[in-house]
């Protein structure tokens, strides 16, 4: 199977073109290693699914890469120490969602010394099962944002025939450039990882979808791709090109059914970061203990991409980037479209933290939302073809049944609608609430 052969970049229906993509701030900044910190606050649950089981207690000595917690079930992954040092305490720190979460506080000994690594496997001969196990043991989860354990995606149930692996290098979020730098600087890792995961899944077709605003990445990947049996697909620049359903739709023309998963249409989507991490795990035996994070935004003195260890507090990350030149009004984990505003700088980098974005006070839209003027812009923008305007009106009047009937549960919270809405309606917040309420009710 090949994506249609026209030379035009592929895309999906709907979506938006954010006027300010902010990628210029950090696009050219090569990935830098962060200096070692005195203390890391490693949040225990960094994956979707069952929480991992803690294996350490206060006072334990740890080596870099040593197991801190083991997987708590099939849909769960282990957690490893980002550096060598000593467990100060197990305590609660502010989580990215505001609710305090359990964390292991590790005092670094300054040596940053690896413990025993897992044995490297040969990338040409590794068995599918071995790859899957290694991906699990290395604690790899989706680094594109969802933090879903990658090995689960690699083990589709037998009745689902997977024929296509898609690597998500779209990075459609404005400001973020972590995946971009990864693809430019470590193309080999990405491609090897792709081939490995492809083998683990037993698929022939492997695509890497990259938006055309990263020509250097497309070029460098394309020049090496042939050797790995990987095809590079140029994608139109449009948000949310990187949402997996729309990526699949753009590349294969298949439509993931509502409530369904990519595997329902024979696809598996992996972020390029997860793929590179998988390559590291298989080929070098290294567990997932750090990741590339874009620290950016107008207030940041030197915006750029850093390789940050898990457990690095946001405040420290900003410090690495030279601090701020003016007072920021908002600190966001993730990009400006889907990221979460934070009220505390004590939150720490996790496996799915792709960016730390600071916004100037003046740039913050303090929206004064008015009534929906039914302009229909949100309908055109919504990649899921929902009717955000009417949905939000229903939710505002607390008519959740109506909202559920109109498929609010399909909303992927991409924020396209709220971005475009001329009435500045807090649409996404409404939908989050409705989804929470409806989930609550169906649980009952």
């Amino acid at each position: 199977m090949t994506p249609n052969n026209s030379s035009r970049p592929l895309t999906f229906k709907g979506g938006i073109h954010p006027s300010k993509d902010g990628k210029a701030l950090s696009r050219a900044a090569a990935v830098r290693e962060a200096p070692l910190l005195a203390e890391y606050q490693l949040i225990v649950q960094q994956n979707v699914g069952a929480p991992p089981e803690l294996l350490v207690k206060a006072g334990d000595e740890l080596k870099k890469g040593q197991l801190v917690a083991k997987a708590g079930g099939f849909v769960s992954v282990p957690l490893h120490s980002p550096t060598s040092g000593k467990v100060k305490e197990i305590s609660r720190i502010p989580g990215p969602m505001g609710v305090p979460v359990q964390a292991v506080i590790i005092v670094a000994d300054g040596n940053d010394e690896w413990g025993e690594l897992m044995p490297p496997l040969d990338w040409k001969t590794a068995e599918p099962q071995a790859v899957r196990d290694r991906v699990r043991d290395a604690g790899i989860v989706g680094m594109g944002g969802a933090a879903f354990p990658t090995h689960v995606k690699l083990s589709p149930p037998p009745d689902k025939k997977i024929d296509c692996l898609i690597l998500n290098g779209a990075e459609c979020e404005p400001y973020l450039t972590a995946d971009h730098r990864l693809m430019v600087e470590f193309p080999e890792k990405v491609l090897r990882g792709a081939a490995l995961l492809g083998r683990a899944l037993g698929v022939k077709d492997i695509f890497i979808g990259v938006e055309v605003n990263k020509p250097d990445a497309i070029e460098i990947l394309s020049s090496q791709a042939a050797g790995f049996g990987v095809k590079i697909v140029a994608l139109q620049v449009k948000y949310p090109q990187g949402a997996e359903k729309h990526l699949i739709s753009a590349i294969t023309g298949r439509e993931v059914p509502t409530g369904g998963l990519p595997m329902d249409v024979g696809c598996v989507v992996q972020n390029v970061g997860s793929t590179a991490a998988a390559a590291d795990a298989v080929l070098e035996g290294k567990p997932l203990i750090d990741r590339i994070v874009t620290v950016t935004g107008e207030p940041v003195k030197t915006p750029g991409n850093w390789r940050l260890k898990l457990g690095t507090p946001v405040a420290e990350a900003i410090r690495f980037a030279g601090g701020v030149t003016c007072e920021p009004g908002k600190v966001i984990l993730g990009g400006p479209m889907m990221g979460f505003a934070q009220k505390s700088l004590e939150v720490t980098v996790m496996k799915n933290t792709s960016g730390i974005l600071l916004m100037k006070k003046d740039d913050i839209i303090q929206y004064q939302s008015t009534a929906c003027i039914r302009c229909g812009k949100c309908l055109d923008a919504c990649p899921m073809n929902l009717q955000p305007g009417s949905l939000s009106a229903a939710i505002e009047s607390e008519k959740f049944d109506l909202a559920a009937k109109n498929n609010v549960m399909d909303c992927v919270e991409c924020g396209s609608c709220a971005y475009i809405c001329p009435a500045h309606r807090p649409l996404v917040q409404h939908f989050r609430r409705a989804k929470a309420e409806i989930r609550n009710r169906s649980k009952k």
Partner: protein
């Protein structure tokens, strides 16, 4: 961030450490919490309304050019009174007065003026503006909540209430081809009528549609009766707007330019005007062909009356039209059919206002059934998906 708070932050820094920290970090509780997305498109409601006003300018200029100072007066009255009505309601209802800033009252006032004859008295503008803003819009909760087009509610209410004033038309100034006396005609008695509040008298003329209505009533259907009003020379006059009628509806040319602007600004769904006009064209052409003498040819219908104004500016009011494209098509076709039915068989010579209002009433139903297929649904399991 206010200066004081900044000063306060700065004041705190030395107290914490002797040497200032290398970087300045925000304090947690001064950060703003809000939902994603954190960036926003530049377009907002006032800018939309502003663009509509821009798109209406050709029609406004055409109106003033054609009908003289009286038209300018009517436009000014309507806008001022609409804004005043909006302000007054907000004041009485305890709403923030800032809602005036969204400019929608200006658009409503302007469109109301374009729907009136030049030279209607000032108090008629006043009543119309209050009906539009209060009865048409604010009782329903203001901008965005009104199910009916406010300007049209006012127009139809006035038509029912004061038919004498609403069916008296000022002749366009170029009507007699006497451009030389134009300057003199620019200030007509109609302008004074408007100021003094007197009804139009003496200087009235008929609209093409009114003539056709009268003809049909007097002579009954007979082929060839429309030759006088439906011929190429007349069509050119209609296209330029050199006929009697509402001050903003006569010039098809100016309205088409405005429509083009609206499409360029991406403010309207092109389906509404296109299907509206198309339906009228097809419907009247068929009737004209099958029953000659019942109604003039399609081109006549397209160029006369408020059809262009209605199809381009009033049926497209986003608040009162369907949200989806299939909905817009149904809406346009419906408007077209009702317009033709009223024009051809009804008592009123013109049916555009009624047609749009009638279809406004159908919008909730259309919105309910003409929806897009959500991503990931197969057409046949829409229902099932909805239940799940």
């Amino acid at each position: 961030m206010s200066e004081e708070v900044k000063a306060e932050v700065q004041a705190k820094i030395p107290a914490q450490a002797e040497t200032p920290p290398p970087v300045m970090l925000p304090k947690g509780n001064e950060l703003v919490l809000s939902s994603s997305p954190h960036i926003h498109a530049a377009e907002n409601v006032p800018s939309i309304m502003f663009k509509v006003i821009i798109a209406l300018l050709p029609a406004v200029f055409a109106g003033i050019l054609l009908f003289g100072a009286a038209a300018l007066l009517v436009i000014a009255y309507c806008i001022v009174f609409s804004v005043a009505a909006e302000l007054l309601w907000c004041k009485l209802a305890g709403k923030p007065l800032s809602t005036v800033r969204d400019l929608s009252a200006v658009v409503t006032g302007l469109l109301l003026a374009l729907n009136l004859s030049a030279g209607v008295p000032w108090w008629l503008c006043l009543i119309g503006a209050f009906i539009a803003i209060w009865l048409g819009k604010q009782v329903f909760g203001g901008l965005g909540h009104n199910p009916f087009n406010p300007a049209l509610v006012a127009r139809v209410a006035l038509l029912i209430a004061l038919p004498k004033y609403m069916t008296a038309w000022v002749p366009a100034k170029f009507m007699n081809g006497n451009a030389a006396s134009y300057a003199r005609q620019f200030f007509t008695p109609a302008a004074w009528n408007s100021v003094l509040g007197a009804p139009l008298d003496g200087v009235t003329c008929a609209t093409p549609l009114g003539l056709v209505g009268t003809t049909a009533k007097v002579l009954g259907p007979a082929p060839g009766v429309f030759a006088e009003v439906a011929n190429p020379t007349a069509y050119l006059q209609y296209f330029l707007g050199n006929v009697g009628g509402c001050l903003g509806e006569t010039s098809a040319l100016a309205l088409l330019i405005g429509g083009l602007l609206l499409v360029l600004f991406k403010l309207i769904k092109w389906q509404i005007p296109v299907f509206y006009l198309g339906t009228v064209a097809v419907f009247t052409a068929v009737i004209n062909y099958c029953f000659p003498g019942v109604t003039p040819p399609a081109l006549f219908h397209l160029l006369t009356g408020g059809l262009m104004l209605g199809a381009i500016f009033m049926a497209t009011d986003m608040v009162t039209s369907p949200m989806t494209e299939p909905g817009a098509i149904i809406f346009g076709i419906g408007c077209g059919i009702v317009t033709c039915v009223i024009r051809i068989w009804g008592n009123y010579p013109e049916g555009v206002s009624f047609a749009i209002l009638f279809m406004n009433a159908l919008v909730p139903l259309i919105d309910r059934f003409a929806t897009k297929k959500p991503f990931g649904y197969h057409p046949w399991d829409r229902k099932k998906g909805a239940q799940a």
